[in-house]
């Protein structure tokens, strides 16, 4: 009898989180990427506490465009500003925006999608048409317009603007999943037993689609970092005294900087590449974990 119970315990299927973690550890590339991400994040957020931002972005007329040296590990830009310091603050800003946008758009998109999928019918119909409307908007153009219109401009407003136009994808995905889930027995049973819709949505349906949420948000993170860099590169992101990876990269639009002063833009370019690849690797591993057919472990 006791042996039977023990056996049953052993056979209990592993939790979603466990599967995700196991898949991550199986995939060496993803593991290395994850460690790299954690280190970089910890480093830039940690060290930027001690860095004086105003000091770094202050213009020094007598150190314009110095190549890398002992004093300036990665040289200076055309304002005589230390590129290494800008790189650290820039990475922090880019990451912060990426994470913030992903969280805001994620939370809103998930709530929207779950509600739409769970209730279905007319509500679903209306909500989906709203999404269709947002999806046909040329969102990059609209973001640019909003960015130029905003007068009080900060990390938060920038993130809000970006998030306002990037929640649709995740909302649709979650909605389709919620549509499936609510037809399953456990949801139907709960409903019959009189559990409130709120409880069913947030305590039963949502936990069952956690893995999907984690995977989508991870992949979105990479996309959002890219979007921020792209906007800053085009000149619609942050001003230069709020460095981000994109602003550093945009120095390369000057042909002379591109040709003669690699130290200004190359580190940022490499860092963007590495960051995106790392997030992507982790995301892919998570995605495989969420799909039993592709799992390696």
């Amino acid at each position: 009898m006791e042996a039977d119970i023990a056996k049953m315990k052993e056979q209990k299927s592993p939790s979603a989180i466990n599967i995700l973690l196991r898949e991550l550890f199986r995939d060496k590339l993803a593991l290395v990427s994850l460690i790299f991400l954690i280190l970089i994040t910890a480093f830039v957020f940690g060290i930027s506490i001690f860095l004086d931002k105003n000091e770094i972005v202050s213009v020094d007329l007598f150190a314009i465009n110095t190549p890398p040296s002992d004093q300036f590990i990665l040289g200076t830009d055309y304002g005589g500003r230390d590129v290494f310091g800008q790189l650290i603050i820039g990475t922090r800003n880019s990451l912060a925006i990426g994470i913030l946008v992903t969280l805001i758009s994620g939370v809103f998109g998930i709530a929207y999608g779950v509600i739409s999928g769970y209730f279905g019918g007319q509500i679903d119909n209306v909500l989906m048409r709203v999404i269709d409307f947002f999806m046909v908007l040329p969102f990059l153009m609209i973001i640019i317009v909003f960015v130029s219109m905003t007068r009080d401009y900060s990390v938060v407003t920038f993130s809000l603007i970006m998030a306002a136009f990037s929640w649709m994808g995740i909302a649709r995905l979650i909605r389709s999943k919620a549509l499936q889930e609510k037809e399953l027995d456990y949801a139907q049973a709960s409903k019959t037993l009189g559990t409130s819709n709120f409880n069913i949505i947030f305590k039963q349906v949502l936990p069952n689609i956690t893995s999907l949420i984690i995977v989508t948000m991870t992949l979105n993170l990479a996309a959002n970092i890219g979007l921020e860099s792209g906007l800053s590169f085009l000149g619609f992101g942050f001003p230069e005294d709020t460095p981000s990876l994109g602003t550093l990269l945009s120095y390369a639009t000057n042909p002379q900087t591109l040709e003669f002063r690699w130290w200004i833009w190359a580190p940022a370019a490499i860092l963007i590449l590495l960051l995106m690849l790392a997030v992507r690797n982790v995301g892919e591993a998570l995605r495989r974990a969420a799909d039993a057919r592709q799992r390696r472990g």
Binding site: L61, I64, P67, D70, Q71, Y78, G79, D152, P239, P255
Partner: protein, 616 residues
């Protein structure tokens, strides 16, 4: 005599265009790096070390504005028009509004009046003139040999016709303001008269113009000198003229080259006008094409273009040595950068400035003067622009040889003096936050509008803010960033909707051929962005264009006094004067980049060999 009259409208438009082109960044030569083998302990000194090694400083006096030589017969010249976008293609002096278009029109058309190096009209142009004693009645005689490209002679009627078109109520171009000084033009515009009273065609080649007032400005670009071929435009309604094929597809002129073909927005081919009245041009053909600023260097290097209209000076230090096939010509630019203080708003109803010193944070002249002392513009010029810009002194750049007054003492970088002025004026740091409060003890934060455009815009803006911080003045960027060019001008008031939050701004101004500065400082002009009004200033401005000012010496004195007064009152202060550079392929000869050029004319330009010289 290349460009005869340059009108005031062009002057305003040049301000706009010029701001787009105001790109400039310094670049230091990256080859040398002496600081790399020094220890960290010496990092304090490294700044001054690099001063010796990396900052090449040029002097505009070392550049020649002119390239002369013995050309061969014929040949083709490739001219690059440096532009980010396509040109509009309104190819007629009477209708264009875009500086790129004017660059194209210069090749195939010209004004009837020519100017000397002080921009006063001379008797060497296609038309000669006589003036009555009062100085308000001009009689012009067009030379007999001056013909349109189609062989028809240029007549007094063509000239009258051009002015009638500009004054027509249906006219949709920006030049009406250039002819309002003629008697009866405004009545004609308002429909009260059938003809312009002040114009009288005496015979085929003679035109008499009567102006409302005699002012020295008339002689320096104040007369509309561009004829419009009546035999071609006669039947086109005025409202349709600027969009007609005669302006856009087959434009016609009287200049040294004829338009052969136009690829809209991209390129124009010209062939020589053998019948040109000054003589047959040297070149057979000229090909003009639009070149993006990013690719100028490559295009010059490979000989794709022989020369360009303007070269981004910030690229110069980097390419100076690699462009072995090109000679750089240089001269003074007609423009200066300045920092302005907002002291009021625009009264739209009455069309005048509404100054309000009481409520302006920068209403105190001592504060303004201290802020001038705080900026090290010589360092800015040397470091950011490698000496191709330099500390500006008065509001009349040295470009106006007669009027610019060197002897005026203007504030230069002296932070101690700035602090002293502020201390004396009662600006003290009351609450100990490191920034001064105003004399009433209230917090003083100035809102600074600065415009994007060009590479150094951002570091330069931050440098100014830092410099003001050094003397304890807290300055913040409007919206926390640089403003987009159109947004910037809207908010400092080009439509009269001044943003009340803006206290200071920096912009640039391209001065006209006429020295009269009323267009920027008069009490009734919308471009007086500072909204500063002052009796003495108005008096001096009026004096400068009065009848007595027909006497050059008198006028010089008036404007010297004005310059001094402006230095004293500091409604704005100029920051840097600028140089302009134009690269020219080795094979090109007889080219002069000065606007006031009188020695070499466009028909004399030539090449010494068939193929462009290519960089080694």
């Amino acid at each position: 005599m290349r460009k005869a009259t340059i009108s005031k409208a062009l002057f305003i438009m040049m301000l706009m265009m010029f701001l787009v082109l105001a790109a400039c960044s310094s670049g230091s030569d990256d080859a040398d790096d002496s600081s790399s083998d020094e220890g960290n302990g010496e990092s304090e000194d490294t700044g001054s070390d690099s001063e010796d090694t990396d900052g090449k400083v040029y002097d505009i006096a070392d550049f020649s504005p002119i390239k002369e030589g013995e050309p061969m017969d014929g040949g083709n010249l490739n001219f690059g028009l440096v532009a980010d976008s396509v040109f509009a293609g309104t190819l007629n002096y009477n209708f264009y509004s875009d500086a790129y278009d004017s660059e194209i029109i210069d090749w195939f058309d010209e004004g009837l009046l020519s100017v000397d190096d002080t921009f006063n009209y001379t008797q060497d142009g296609a038309a000669t003139w006589e003036v009555n004693d009062e100085g308000n009645e001009f009689t012009f005689t067009i030379r007999d040999e001056v013909n349109w490209h189609d062989g028809e002679p240029v007549t007094a009627e063509d000239w009258e016709f051009a002015i009638e078109v500009l004054a027509d109520p249906d006219y949709d171009g920006p030049r009406y303001g250039d002819v309002t000084s003629i008697v009866g033009a405004e009545e004609y515009h308002d429909g009260e008269a059938d003809s312009i009273e002040g114009l009288e065609v005496i015979d085929d080649k003679t035109l008499k113009m009567t102006f409302k007032h005699a002012t020295p400005s008339l002689l320096s670009g104040g007369i509309w000198g561009y004829a419009l071929p009546k035999h071609i435009f006669e039947d086109i309604p005025v409202a349709d003229m600027s969009s007609s094929d005669e302006v856009r597809v087959n434009p016609i002129g009287m200049g040294p080259f004829k338009v052969e073909s136009i690829t809209p927005g991209e390129s124009v081919t010209f062939s020589k006008n053998e019948d040109y009245w000054k003589g047959e041009p040297n070149l057979d053909t000229v090909t003009l094409k639009v070149i993006a600023p990013e690719t100028v260097t490559q295009a010059l290097e490979t000989g794709e273009v022989d020369m360009v209209d303007s070269f981004p000076t910030d690229q110069y230090p980097d390419v100076e040595e690699s462009l072995t096939n090109v000679e750089f010509l240089g001269t003074l630019d007609r423009s200066y950068s300045y920092v302005g203080f907002k002291m009021g708003t625009w009264d739209k109803e009455n069309g005048k400035v509404a100054m309000d010193l009481e409520n302006s944070k920068v209403g105190d002249v001592e504060l303004r003067r201290a802020m001038w002392y705080a900026l090290d513009n010589n360092a800015v010029g040397e470091r950011f622009y490698n000496g191709l810009r330099w500390n500006a002194t008065t509001l009349m750049p040295s470009f106006y040889e007669n009027y610019h007054d060197d002897s005026i003492e203007t504030p230069t970088y002296d932070p101690d003096k700035a602090n002293q002025i502020l201390d004396d004026a009662g600006y003290e740091d009351v609450d100990g936050d490191g920034f001064r409060e105003n004399p009433d003890g209230e917090e003083l934060v100035l809102n600074y509008a600065s415009m994007e455009g060009g590479d150094t815009a951002e570091p330069l803006t931050n440098y100014y803010i830092q410099s003001w911080e050094q003397i304890g003045i807290k300055v913040e960027k409007t919206d926390g960033r640089l403003l987009e060019f159109n947004d910037f001008y809207d908010r400092i008031g080009q439509q009269g909707n001044d943003d009340p939050d803006i206290d200071i701004y920096s912009a640039a101004w391209s001065v006209g051929t006429d020295v009269d500065p009323t267009g920027l400082w008069g009490p009734n002009v919308i471009y007086n962005f500072t909204r500063w009004e002052d009796e003495e200033n108005t008096r001096l401005l009026e004096e400068g264009v009065s009848e007595e000012a027909m006497d050059l010496e008198y006028r010089e004195d008036v404007y010297k006094e004005w310059q001094e007064y402006m230095v004293d009152q500091v409604p704005v202060f100029p920051t840097v004067y600028r140089a302009k550079l134009a690269p020219v392929n080795e094979r090109v000869v007889n080219w002069d980049i000065r606007d006031e050029a009188t020695e070499l004319e466009r028909y004399e330009v030539g090449v010494t060999q068939d193929e462009p010289v290519v960089a080694e």
